[in-house]
Amino acid sequence: MEFGPILRSMRRNKVRYGLIVAEVALTLAVVANCVNMIRDARRQMAIVSGFDDDNLIRVNSRPFAPAFKEDGYLDNSVKKDLAALRALPGVKAASNTRFLPWQGGGSSMETRVLGSKGPMQRNQVYNADEGTLATLGSRLIEGRNFTREETESEALRIRQLFASSRPSGADGMPLEKISQDIIISKAFGDLLFPDGKALGKRLEDTDGDQYMIVGVIDRFYNPYGWPIHEYVMFFPNTARSYQGGAPYLVRAEPGRKAALLASIEKTLLAADGGRNLQIQPVSQIKERFQSRSSLMVTILSVVIALLLFITSLGIVGLTVFSVAERTRQIGTRRALGAQRGDILRYFLLENWIVTTLGLALGVVLAFGLNVALVSRVSGPKMQPGLVAAGVLLLWIAGLAATFLPALRGARVAPAIATRNV
């Protein structure tokens, strides 16, 4: 092997080889950190909600006709809307709920296990009717679903209870406590009851009001500003008001979503024209929520591609120059009996040594940069496997970039050695 001559030649051209070492090192550091960030964004985007996101449609009825200010009229309108939605061909299920997957927030409250003296735990909270679970596509793993009668009677009861202020005691809490049945997510149940037996247990909130767990669903994930993405409780109630409107979720049969998106507005406006409708597929809300992550993936991928391109250019440049500078030397070696393969091997080996030195330095830089980013800015910790993959990639890129110029060097005719002397 030609280690000796190569190392001696490198020692004579420290700066030129040093530059490639630095370039390869920086490239590895940047590429490894970019890929690390891409993987983190991809992981975020791969989280499943537990709902039939692709077939869900959000429908928001926003009344302006004064008739909607009357409770009876509003209730009736919700009932008529649900019947109209469910009667549409291609609708699998429909529900009147304020819950909207993937909007990046929602509403929350604080509860704890009844009788425990522990701290309150924050969880998401939404109303549900008898169709909410079927609409979302959530699977009930324990207990029961809400019924239509329950939804309506609870709506009336809660409305009456909160029509005026409740008398409160010395502790500032309402004297008369109320109790409601709730359905919770398994993750929330496991958090409150590590033994996994949540069904039939009771919770209390900051007013001392109670909640009895009557059902548990398998999965729930809705990104929230606070780390309570998987903790939810649903309570039976309708969702409608004059100012806030009436929100619905509609689940389409597979392949029928596009047709429904076009027909829902006409159907509901025909039922009552004193309002505007806002209709949006949940997949679009999800895309919007994930758009920052997906943009990151795009940008970082472009940066990686450009960087590899630039570095390859640098290596090509170095080899072209190396070859040009040593044309006569190559001619001499060929004249003295060296084969083309020997010349090719010489340049490949030379570049391999330079690249490897750069990569060794780059491994250190990659981890250093990651530590700096994690502590000063944000981001996930570096996976050692990624750096290893980066090393492999740059080795291959380095050899590939060397190959053509080196091949040209190997084609130098022995006769060159005798010219120009």
């Binding site: 700066v15 030129r16 530059l19 490639i20 370039e23 920086l26 550091a29 940047v30 950190n33 970019c34 960030m37 926003r62 302006f64 004064p66 604080e110 701290p119 309150m120 924050r122 909160f162 029509a163 202020s165 409740r166 008398p167 409160s168 502790d171 500032g172 809490m173 309402p174 004297l175 900051t206 007013d207 606070w226 100012q243 806030g244 505007n276 895309e287 919007r288 758009s291 920052r292 943009l295 990151m296 970082l300 940066v303 450009l306 391109f309 630039i310 570095t311 250019l313 640098g314 440049g317 170095l318 072209v320 120059f321 040009a324 500078e325 940069l369 700096a372 800015v377 944000s378 981001g379």
Partner: protein, 442 residues
């Protein structure tokens, strides 16, 4: 002399076109990537209201749960907004030159039926001070006066866009608009007002355009308006319910701004707030440690993490990217210059000094830097166009990322610096070569 050097440099670039294209491409990509990410970060981080940022202050009070801090990334911070009770009390202070509590709601607007169906619009409730406090430009009329705050008089200020929609862009001052259950009289139409980030309400959608309709805060009660922004509550409801219960509750939902003209008034105002909180404590509220914040625009932006951390990470990576491009350039230039050593030998032999050779090569590098930088700047304009287009999918505006004067200067500076940094060593190496060595190769 400079012209002569430039001519030689240009000739030299033309001689080996392929290599020159590679060299210029490298520097263009480096400048494009770093300019783009610097602009992205700068768009979030820059002062959104430079004319007033030294006198505007955002007010927060820690009225949160005694048992635990307000949830968020930084547990030392008080809630992001204030309660209605606290707002009404601290607004009684006459220390601030101007002040406004504010929030956004949604109301139905009923345009002339010839124009269209009723539509729901986001409306901001604020005091008359909002417009002079934030230097809002007015196209027609003006904001309302303090008398209208107290009335409250049914007056409204429209954005230019809303005035275009409702009145075809004509001067609508004095005309009426029906919103919700009553008629409002237009007193002013705003000119174009688009702060970089919506600094006055950083609790949600901070890069959206400002609201299109503004009305006196005091309509809160008569119209029973609810906030459509964030509202954070804690603890027992105390049995209170309904609209009055909401106003009496500890729910934080109002953004509070004051204009304090000098240091002394800032100190005085802080003392006033401390005294207010200590007084409230006697009534059982504010059981947490005293933690009032009278924050400048920049402090408020920092607390709300307006600059997304990934933009900082990207900026760091892009600077390293430019570093790689520069290192790459050093190698390519070194090759290019040394390959031309015979020409340098001839010039030296004919009497050119080392300084001449050095200067000529540096000029060539700067030429490369300028050409590459110009192409890079164009590329980053394209990249920012792409990003602005993307932004339309998540915000109400598509002009957020702007290549402003400081960023163009930065870009030019970066290209010159990269050209110089990459060119110095190769130029020095070239001018150090002895003429005889160059010539002997001929």
């Amino acid at each position: 002399m400079l012209f002569h050097n430039l001519r030689i440099a240009w000739k030299s670039l033309k001689r080996n076109r392929a290599l020159s294209v590679l060299i210029v491409t490298g520097i263009a990509l480096g400048v494009a990537v770093s300019t783009t990410f610097a602009t992205v970060r700068h768009s979030y981080a820059k002062d959104p209201i430079p004319s007033k940022s030294d006198v505007l202050y955002y007010v927060r009070l820690d009225s949160w749960d005694p048992l635990k801090p307000y949830p968020g990334a930084d547990a030392t911070l008080p809630p992001t907004q204030v309660t209605y009770r606290d707002m009404t009390e601290i607004m009684k202070s006459n220390i601030p030159r101007r002040q406004s509590g504010m929030f956004k709601t949604a109301l139905y607007v009923y345009p002339d039926p010839k124009i269209g169906r009723p539509f729901r619009e986001t409306v901001r409730l604020c005091t008359s001070d909002f417009f002079p406090m934030f230097d809002v430009p007015m196209l027609y009329g003006s904001g309302w006066d303090r008398k209208a705050d107290a009335g409250p008089e049914p007056v409204v200020v429209l954005s230019r866009e809303m005035n275009d929609k409702l009145f075809g862009g004509k001067n609508s001052v004095g005309k009426t608009v029906r919103m919700g259950d009553r008629e409002f009289r237009v007193v002013g139409v705003m000119g174009d007002w688009l702060p970089s980030v919506k600094f006055y309400d950083l609790t949600q959608n901070m890069i959206d355009v400002p609201e299109t309709i503004y009305m006196p805060f005091s309509f809160l009660k008569p119209m029973q308006l609810r906030t459509f922004g964030n509202s954070d509550g804690w603890g027992s409801s105390g049995g209170l319910s309904g609209f009055d219960g909401f106003l009496q509750s500890e729910t934080c939902w109002i953004q509070m701004w004051v204009e304090l003209p000098d240091r002394a008034s800032v100190e005085k105002y802080k003392d006033f707030l401390a005294a207010y909180v200590l007084d409230q404590r006697k009534h059982g509220r504010f059981q947490r440690p005293l933690n009032n914040r009278v924050s400048t625009v920049r402090e408020w932006m920092r607390d709300q993490r307006v600059v997304p951390p990934e933009t900082t990470a990207m900026l760091i990576l892009s600077i390293l990217f430019l570093g790689v491009c520069a290192v790459n350039l050093v190698g390519l230039l070194l090759g290019k210059f040394l390959a031309r050593s015979s020409e340098v030998g001839v010039r030296r032999a004919l009497g050119a000094s080392r300084a001449d050779i050095f200067l000529q090569h540096v000029v060539e590098c700067e030429l490369i830097g300028v050409v590459g930088g110009a192409i890079g700047l164009l590329l980053s304009v394209g990249a920012l166009l792409f990003l602005n287009n993307w932004l339309k999918t998540i915000a109400t505006r598509g002009d957020f990322f702007r290549l402003d004067v400081p960023m163009v200067l930065l870009s030019i500076g970066l290209s010159l610096a990269a050209g110089l940094a990459a060119g110095l060593y190769p130029a020095w190496r070239t001018c150090r070569l002895a003429p005889a060595v160059h010539l002997s190769l001929q």
